[in-house]
């Protein structure tokens, strides 16, 4: 088999994943695109391992071992990522990643807000920080929900 077939397919899948990461808004869809990118890398690893095991008499099989490690790390990553997304959704009521801009720079000069920790200070700042980024209709909804 020509080596260009799996290599080109892996490149196309990786760029599809790049588009998904950049263009999607929901955090879970972004995680799916990250999975696509990881799978493209896995395909490259397997193809080059099969090639090297014949051409260079490689008996270490590092490509397949790395593929197994990548699959395991991807499983761990999706578990942790979904736990974080669910925690964010429970605190904020949304999982759109372009609404979570508490650590954005240049908009407000007030002090740094603690991100991720469930402290009381962050929770009392919550409607204000969301109202800066969302519209005034959303501000009313937030105020009702947290009152």
């Amino acid at each position: 088999m020509h080596l260009a077939y799996p290599a080109v397919l892996a490149a196309l899948l990786f760029c599809t994943g790049v588009y998904g990461v950049l263009a999607r808004r929901n955090a879970i869809l972004v995680l799916m695109s990250v999975e696509l990118m990881l799978n493209a890398v896995n395909l490259n690893l397997v193809a080059f391992d099969v090639w090297l095991s014949r051409t260079a008499r490689d008996t270490l099989h590092s490509g397949q071992a790395l593929t197994l490690f990548t699959i395991a790390i991807a499983a761990a990553e999706i578990g942790i990522g979904l736990a974080i997304v669910l925690a964010v959704y429970r605190n904020r009521g949304t999982s759109d990643i372009d609404r979570l801009r508490d650590t954005a720079e240049g908009h407000e000069p007030d002090g740094p807000e603690s991100e991720g920790a469930e402290t009381d200070g962050r929770d009392s700042h919550d409607p204000d920080s969301d109202a800066r980024t969302a519209g005034p209709a959303d501000r009313a909804g937030k105020a009702e929900a947290t009152a």
Binding site: C15, L29, M32, H61, A76, A87, R92
Partner: protein, 249 residues
């Protein structure tokens, strides 16, 4: 999805006699193989690759979130077939078990826990999708050009004993890669504990001052409430909000 699965099985069935007839054919055609005379494995790889790439494109462009997860199943299954065509069977079955079996199920659970009104969501893509498309197309063009130019005259020899059988993979994994394997098990344990800690409800907040504790205890278990006012801010799906909330209670 059934069409894609049928195409994958058809391509795989096409690959089996081709690889069976391969050893007698390659010795004669080892010097003359090229793009104009693809072998059966290459044709099968190309067809399954087209299905995989198409499913990946639908995954990142569809506006129905659950359909995106289901097309991701097609993509990952197609990649498993590609691993089988590359004679890496253990990786293929691990791919089917872990990705198709658990990761997609986790993603579906996540979608249903966060995005309860299932259906078309018009705000699935953010505003910078044209910039993202530009970046992705430019990266794809550059990568494909470089890869084709670099591996123009390189062939994978798929004959003889398979390079990725379970025996070979297990031997190399437990002879050469034992220490990373054990470290990986520790990492999986840490991820398990971390996921449990992250998704557990915080108990320490109940001893905080009454105003904030009332806020937290009202807002955290009642997920339908917070979901409802989020939908109200999004506009087009606003009409389905109260009905969904009634159904949820």
């Amino acid at each position: 999805m059934t069409l894609a699965a049928a195409a994958a099985t058809a391509a795989h069935a096409l690959a089996v006699p081709a690889s069976a007839a391969h050893p007698t054919l390659t010795t004669a055609a080892a010097e003359t193989h090229g793009f104009l005379s693809p072998t059966g494995v290459e044709v099968a790889f190309l067809l399954v690759g087209l299905v995989t790439f198409g499913a990946a494109l639908v995954t990142v462009t569809t506006r129905q979130l659950v359909h995106a997860a289901l097309w991701l199943v097609v993509t990952l299954g197609g990649l498993a077939v590609e691993y089988l065509l590359l004679t890496a069977e253990f990786i293929a079955w691990v791919q089917v078990l872990i990705y198709v079996g658990s990761v997609v199920v986790l993603l579906l659970f996540g979608l249903m826990l966060t995005k309860a009104p299932i259906g078309r969501s018009p705000d699935a893509d953010s505003g910078n999708r044209w910039a993202a498309l530009t970046v992705a197309v430019a990266a794809a063009a550059a990568l494909v050009w470089v890869v084709v130019d670099a591996f123009r005259a390189t062939w994978i020899d798929l004959d003889g004993p398979a390079a990725g059988t379970t025996a070979v993979t297990g031997a190399s994994l437990f002879q050469n890669w034992v220490l990373p394997f054990e470290a990986l098990s520790v990492l999986l344990l840490a991820a398990l504990v971390g996921a449990i800690v992250l998704s557990r409800k915080a108990k320490a907040e109940s001893s905080s001052p009454p105003v904030n504790s009332r806020t937290i205890t009202e807002s955290s278990p009642s997920v339908p409430d917070s979901r409802n006012h989020t939908i109200g801010g999004n506009g087009p799906v606003e009409g389905t909000g109260p009905a969904k909330q009634e159904g949820a209670r």
